[in-house]
């Protein structure tokens, strides 16, 4: 019976385990063969948490937020402000605070913004993001304006890493981030396969019908929005120790566009799509930036090409190739 509940390629715990293993093993290898590119793996993993959160809203609930940088900003500034004003150095309480702050914001604006779907929701989120961005920029005395807030080395799990070599610090941080990401991935797997996850998909497919089945769609969307905010806020908080500076740029609407693109690139209908997308995008951006000053041009063409040629993303491309191979053994699968 349970087989009737589809487990597509890339939606299983096994796929997550393989992915995490690859991200763990790739780091020392990169450090060895292309040391400059290792740090992007950490960035990619962090962005993947944000994209995963975004995708619960977009891929699973059908709500396109064009303002998820809002929560990146909340997360990053939580770290920055607690460090600056409370002198906190332990990362864990800051992560928790960031998640709580993101959830609080989501619960505050959610009941209002979720009344609208489609383009209105997208614009609404954009506006909220820009309000906060304007706040970081203009409330100079609190946030440091464009100077941002400097982030020193953080303490992880109670260990003071202030004295060790910077590259070792970065390596430790990578595995720290990866461990958190692994938990986040697994939790997301549970969410997606839970009654909530299926109900969200139902809302995405047909909200009116879902309501007719007695589902309180507004409440469920609010839950999804809040979880999504918590994930993205967590990513924002994890970014801060790596960027070493929290500035309004992190909360600019262009960052929202980036998160959207990462998700689409990987494949919004797959659990691991946004993860794959985030890591590939991070490398694409950094390589394109290094190769040519016209990397926007490359990126723009790529965005349009992906949307037209494979609107379901790279995972869907991989999936269809694999499906073709599997058909020989008579196993037929397709994405949901």
């Amino acid at each position: 019976m349970v087989e009737a509940f589809r487990r597509e390629l890339g939606n299983s715990l096994a796929a997550i385990a393989i992915l995490v293993a690859v991200l763990g093993v790739a780091y020392p290898i990169l450090r060895f063969i292309a040391p400059g590119y290792a740090i992007y793996l950490t960035y990619g993993v962090i962005w993947s948490i944000a994209a995963l959160g975004f995708n619960l809203l977009y891929g699973y609930t059908g709500l396109l937020s064009f303002g998820h940088a809002t929560f990146i900003g909340i997360g990053a500034y939580t770290v920055g402000l607690t460090m600056k004003y409370l002198g906190l150095r332990e990362l864990e309480p800051m992560l928790v605070t960031a998640m709580v702050a993101s959830a609080a914001l989501a619960l505050a604006v959610g009941p209002v913004v979720l009344r609208y779907g489609g383009i209105f929701f997208a614009i609404f989120m954009l506006a909220i993001g820009q309000i906060l961005w304007g706040f970081y920029l203009k409330f100079y005395h609190v946030t440091g304006g464009t100077d941002g807030i400097k982030i020193g080395r953080v303490e992880l799990l109670g260990f003071d890493l202030g004295r060790i070599d910077y590259l070792t610090y970065l390596t430790i941080y990578h595995y720290y981030v990866l461990a958190i990401a692994a938990i986040a991935y697994i939790v997301m797997w549970y969410i997606v396969n839970s009654p909530l996850g299926y109900s969200l998909k139902a809302i995405r497919d047909n909200e009116v019908r879902a309501r007719a089945l007695g589902i309180d769609t507004l409440q469920l969307k609010l839950i999804a929005f809040t979880i999504s905010a918590v994930y993205t806020g967590l990513a924002g908080a994890l970014l801060a120790p790596l960027t070493r500076l929290v500035s309004p740029e992190l909360a600019y609407w262009f960052v929202s566009g980036k998160i959207v693109f990462m998700t689409i690139l990987g494949g919004a209908s797959y659990l691991i799509g946004p993860i794959v997308g985030a890591i590939i995008y991070t490398y694409l951006e950094s390589i394109a930036m290094g190769y040519t000053i016209y990397w926007y041009l490359l990126l723009g063409i790529l965005i349009i090409a992906v949307m037209i040629l494979s609107p379901r993303g790279l995972m869907s491309l991989a999936d269809s190739l694999l499906t073709r191979a599997r058909l020989r053994w008579g196993v037929w699968q397709r994405p949901s």
């Binding site: 396109l64 383009i119 609404f124 820009q130 304007g134 041009l297 349009i304």
Partner: protein, 296 residues
């Protein structure tokens, strides 16, 4: 004593915004696509006008007032239309009916392509052509000097808005326009060649944006990032006025521009925050916008 100047400056800025928002609303009204790359045509118009003025007109014809007024504007708008036909039109037509996400992402791609095309063609430095601004001279208002050029832009846009109003409410084409913006199938139902109709709408919208850019350049320089600056503000105007309507474009551009001037006078610290805050309030209070809700 400065009040008349503030009013004029507000009208000037809202003229530019109107030319962008009207196009955005036309495209949204008829195609139900929010075109993130729309303001890029404005920027393109600005770059093209600066280039035509400084490289073609001034070296050949000197600072001839009439030549400066007419030639750069006409040539630039033609160029913008050509670029729109090559890049924007096909993509918008393709995006139609493919969902909000698809449209937003694809036009976002187009937006950043434009940014680099500008860099490729005109380089990273700001480009300006103040010739017309200074050629038209200045007059005294309430004891302050004021550039005649800004009057010219306000007047030209007002005439254009009236013409647009006339087309919308007094012609057969306008009837189809309004009907189709309420029901996308209407154009077909009215026996119109839908494909040609959409084509005209996109070209008209592009021309308006290009015109805006062309009128903008004698006052200030154009630089990379100008598109997003105007896009985001035009977006706010679009939301405040009402998505997809002619009245919305008028109301939205006037309100945003007035708010900008007001905040600059009252609390200059909060310019950006106030704009977005008002947009959020309008969305809550009247999601269809202050002037909208009835189609184009």
């Amino acid at each position: 004593m400065a009040l008349p100047i503030y009013v004029l400056d507000t009208l000037f800025y809202s003229s530019l915004l109107f030319l962008i928002i009207a196009g955005l609303n036309l495209i949204y009204g008829i195609l139900r696509v929010v075109n993130l790359a729309h303001a890029s045509l404005f920027t393109f118009g600005a770059y093209a006008t600066a280039w035509i003025t400084t490289s073609l007109i001034v070296p050949r014809l000197g600072e001839n007032l009439l030549a400066l007024m007419v030639l750069p504007l006409v040539l630039a708008v033609i160029l913008v239309i050509l670029v729109s036909l090559a890049l924007v039109t096909p993509l918008l037509r393709y995006s139609q009916g493919r969902g909000d996400a698809f449209q937003l992402i694809v036009t976002f791609g187009l937006l950043i392509i434009f940014e680099d095309l500008f860099k490729l063609i005109w380089g990273p430095h700001p480009v300006s052509a103040y010739n017309l601004f200074f050629q038209m001279g200045f007059i005294d208002i309430a004891g302050l000097r004021y550039p005649v050029y800004k009057f010219y832009v306000i007047l030209l846009t007002a005439i254009l808005a009236l013409a647009l109003w006339y087309v919308t409410y007094r012609t057969a084409f306008g009837l189809v326009l309004r009907a189709s913006s309420m029901d996308p199938h209407m154009a077909t139902a009215l026996g119109l060649n839908t494909s040609r109709f959409l084509f005209i709408v996109i070209v008209l919208a592009s021309a308006l944006a290009g015109l805006g850019g062309s009128l903008y350049i004698p006052v200030a320089s154009v630089q990379l990032g100008l598109s997003t600056e105007f896009l985001v503000i035009a977006f706010v105007g679009m939301v405040i006025g009402g998505l997809g309507s002619f009245v919305g474009a008028v109301v939205g551009s006037l309100i945003v521009s007035s708010l900008r001037t007001l905040t600059l006078i009252v609390f200059p610290e909060l310019e950006l925050v106030v704009l977005y805050l008002v947009a959020v309030i309008v969305l809550l209070w009247k999601p269809e916008g202050i002037g909208g809700g009835r189609g184009w």
